[in-house]
């Protein structure tokens, strides 16, 4: 008895399987993607993204523990929640006019984020950054985002 495998079906099953099985890491990551054409890809948050034509994405993936794993400290806050403090600025130009992609990122992670949150200098820095973002959101006509 011979079994005939439909190659087209095999490929359609194989590609999503490979994409879902490879590189599944629970890490903190920030990614951008600009695509023109056909694209099937896995984002850092491990979801599958299928696009045809022009598409642009920015993803921030921050690992979080399961609820049952969280422990409570004396003040009622979770002690094993991952701390992240940062600004993530992306400027996109038109890729066909040789306009650049510019990234400006500042991040504190883990225990460094907790320490940084207590620093007056960094409090002022993040406060000013938040103010700029809020002001630009009100009158935002520029390409790109923050």
């Amino acid at each position: 008895m011979r079994i005939h495998i439909n190659r087209g079906l095999y490929l359609r099953l194989l590609v999503p399987f490979v994409l879902t099985q490879a590189g599944c890491q629970n890490v903190l990551g920030f990614s951008t993607a600009t695509k023109f054409g056909l694209d099937i890809s896995q984002r850092p948050d491990q979801t599958i993204d299928v696009s045809m034509g022009y598409d642009r994405t920015e993803v921030a993936s921050i690992p979080a523990p399961k609820n049952e794993d969280a422990t409570q400290s004396g003040d009622g806050t979770g002690t094993d929640t991952y701390s992240v403090l940062g600004t993530f600025v992306v400027f996109y130009g038109n890729p066909f006019l040789d306009q650049p992609l510019v990234l400006n990122q500042f991040f504190a992670t883990g225990m460094a984020a907790r320490k940084a949150a207590k620093s007056p200098e960094l409090q002022r820095f993040f406060g000013e950054a938040t103010g700029k973002i809020a002001a630009e959101n009100k009158t935002s006509t520029k390409p790109g985002g923050q």
Binding site: A33, Q42, P95, L101, V102, A112
Partner: protein, 204 residues
């Protein structure tokens, strides 16, 4: 007769061109080995503000190791590794001899300028590389720790993975990648003031 001779000539020319349009890379944990023609440039301290590497491959290119894939067209890969504060001896010595062309007449490529490697290029992995940019114009299928994607057309992806328990700063412009600035501050003091270098970076 003439037609068959012409096709033979074109076939031979095609076979001669194949090695110049085919590149492979093996990405190991400690180094990357490029076999075949690649164009590349890099910068490292003290000339640069980060460890930056940019490699461009044309034609058919395959990769294996930590990432597996095949690409057709023009593919570009940029990595950025930060300056680590406080610096360790390993970081200070690691910038020398990380880019090598052992099979070339001048094994050490020029810093900050475009270089061409025809046969073999060895690149030691940057210490703590935390930013990756991959671009393809053509078609590509890749899966592994760098990306999982099937693309036809133009695709440009970046991935920034800041280290744990540290403060990280990255400035990247894909028109001027060698001018990238990347710094990581470890051991942030809890009660004392922040490091001067961090305060200067915040003030910019």
């Amino acid at each position: 007769m003439m037609q068959s001779r012409g096709s033979i000539i074109f076939g031979c020319l095609g076979l001669l061109l194949v090695p110049f349009l085919t590149a492979c890379v093996w990405r190991a944990d400690d180094a990357e080995h490029y076999i075949g023609p690649v164009i590349f440039r890099y910068s490292a301290p003290p000339n640069g503000n980060a460890y930056v590497g940019q490699v461009v491959r044309l034609g058919v290119s395959a990769e294996a190791g930590t990432s597996w894939g095949i690409a057709l067209g023009a593919s570009e890969r940029i990595t950025v590794a930060p300056l680590v504060i406080p610096a360790t001896n390993k970081d200070q010595t690691s910038s020398r001899g990380r880019w090598m062309m052992p099979l070339s007449f001048s094994p050490t490529p020029t810093v900050g300028k475009w270089n061409f490697s025809l046969l073999y290029l060895r690149v030691a992995r940057d210490p703590g590389s935390f930013f990756l940019s991959r671009a393809i114009q053509g078609a590509e299928i890749v899966f592994g720790e760098e990306a999982n994607a099937l693309s036809v057309g133009i695709a440009h992806r970046t991935l920034f993975t800041p280290p744990d328990n540290a403060i990280s700063r990255l400035r990247f412009d894909d028109n001027r990648p060698l001018e990238s600035r990347a710094t990581v501050w470890l051991d942030v003091p809890e009660h004392d003031g922040l490091p001067d270098s961090l305060l200067k970076e915040i003030a910019k």
